[in-house]
């Protein structure tokens, strides 16, 4: 006996009820449960759909789909990070590397020309301004992004990562706060040109990350999603 279309919809509902909210994972689990149920029916055709489903679900153990969801989310975070890094690498390749070097040089010279007592404060100022801009863009695009995440009524793990900007703002936020800690501030000597160079690199790197995460990756979202999920195109 084969499973009916209605039952497939039931199975999707069942996975949602058990805290699997993303369509990519739901689909895989639905196929698995359906195969298991069909096999049980081969041995015992009188078994009800519900009983067969419960038997199959028990095989996932006491925590149900939780382990599967956790591991899949971790795998997707890793994948997202790889995508971001691959775009970021462009900035150290020719010709963009020229722009990178110019920016780093310019900021170093700018910091060098600021009186020593104000240098650390200036670095913090730039970083705080950066955090402010990212927060602004995040809030400005928030409702759009939330709509984007559930476009066509389906949630995809990678899409969530892309439109929540990989939680970049949470990390960026910490940078000026850590640099402003008293014992760290006292350790850094702002009259050393290498220190200024390192700060310039940090500022440029964080700016490139922001551009990649907030602009480049979302603009390639559809391309990335269809290469990650072969089913993305024929279900949307």
């Amino acid at each position: 006996m084969k499973i009916a279309q209605d039952h497939i919809q039931e199975l999707y509902k069942f996975t949602r009820k058990h805290y699997v909210e993303h369509y990519d994972l739901q689909t895989e689990l639905v196929d698995h449960l359906a195969n298991g149920i069909e096999e049980q029916w081969q041995e015992n055709p009188n078994l009800s759909f519900e009983d067969a489903l419960q038997n199959e679900f028990k095989k996932f153990g006491a925590f149900g789909f939780m382990d599967v969801v956790e591991e899949k989310s971790a795998a997707m975070r890793k994948k997202y990070l790889k995508v971001v890094l691959s775009f970021l690498k462009e900035f150290v390749k020719f010709p963009k590397v020229l722009l990178t070097m110019c920016l780093v040089g310019l900021i170093t010279i700018m910091l060098w020309n600021i009186p020593i007592g104000f240098r650390h404060g200036s670095v913090l100022g730039i970083l705080f301004a950066h955090v402010f801009v990212v927060f602004y863009l995040l809030f400005k695009n928030r409702s759009n992004n939330e709509l984007e995440m559930v476009r066509h009524g389906k949630k995809w793990l990678l899409k969530d990562q892309i439109y929540s900007y990989g939680h970049w703002v949470n990390f960026l936020n910490l940078l000026p706060i850590i640099l402003n800690l008293k014992f760290i501030r006292e350790q850094i000597s702002m009259d050393n040109s290498l220190v200024l160079l390192a700060f310039a690199c940090l500022i440029v790197l964080s700016a490139f990350l922001t551009v990649t995460i907030l602009i480049v990756v979302p603009s390639k979202a559809d391309e990335l999603l269809s290469s990650t999920y072969p089913e993305y195109n024929f279900t949307n």
Binding site: K2, I3, A4, Q5, I8, T27, E28, L29, V30, D31, H32, A34, N35, G36, K59, F60, G61, F63, D67, V68, E70, E71, K72, A74, A75, M76, K78, K79, Y229, P230, E231, F234, T235
Partner: protein
């Protein structure tokens, strides 16, 4: 086998080996194949199989393909080029491990 801890570390290698032999497989097929090959001695639990598959996919060892089968979408896994190379390494590692364990358990053991 009562003690599943004994083969837990080898789960990834078992998956890679199966995919190497069969080309492409879907999750349910893998659990059934393992049961069949080991005559029910080893069973891969669903709660362990999918996390392992997703991890291998994230590491770039597996690639996915989907097809519409009956009235549902099925996701197939297959080895990438990197995955094929890694399978050879991991099988060699596993063999080495089995040999060491054999030496520990039965030091004078030989095929004759």
């Amino acid at each position: 086998m009562a003690n599943s801890k004994l083969y837990k570390g080898s789960l990834n290698t078992i998956i890679l080996k199966l995919l190497d032999e069969k080309g492409k497989m879907y999750g349910y097929e893998i659990t059934q194949k393992v049961k069949e090959l080991t005559k029910g001695e080893l069973t891969i639990t669903e709660g362990a199989l999918y996390p392992a598959l997703h991890k291998l996919e994230a590491e770039g060892l597996l690639d996915v393909e989907v097809a519409k089968v009956d009235n549902r979408i099925r996701k197939y896994y297959k080895l990438t080029e990197v995955g094929e190379k890694e399978t050879v390494n991991r099988l060699a590692e596993l063999e080495e491990f089995i040999r060491s364990m054999q030496n520990l358990v039965k030091p004078n053991w030989s095929i004759q």
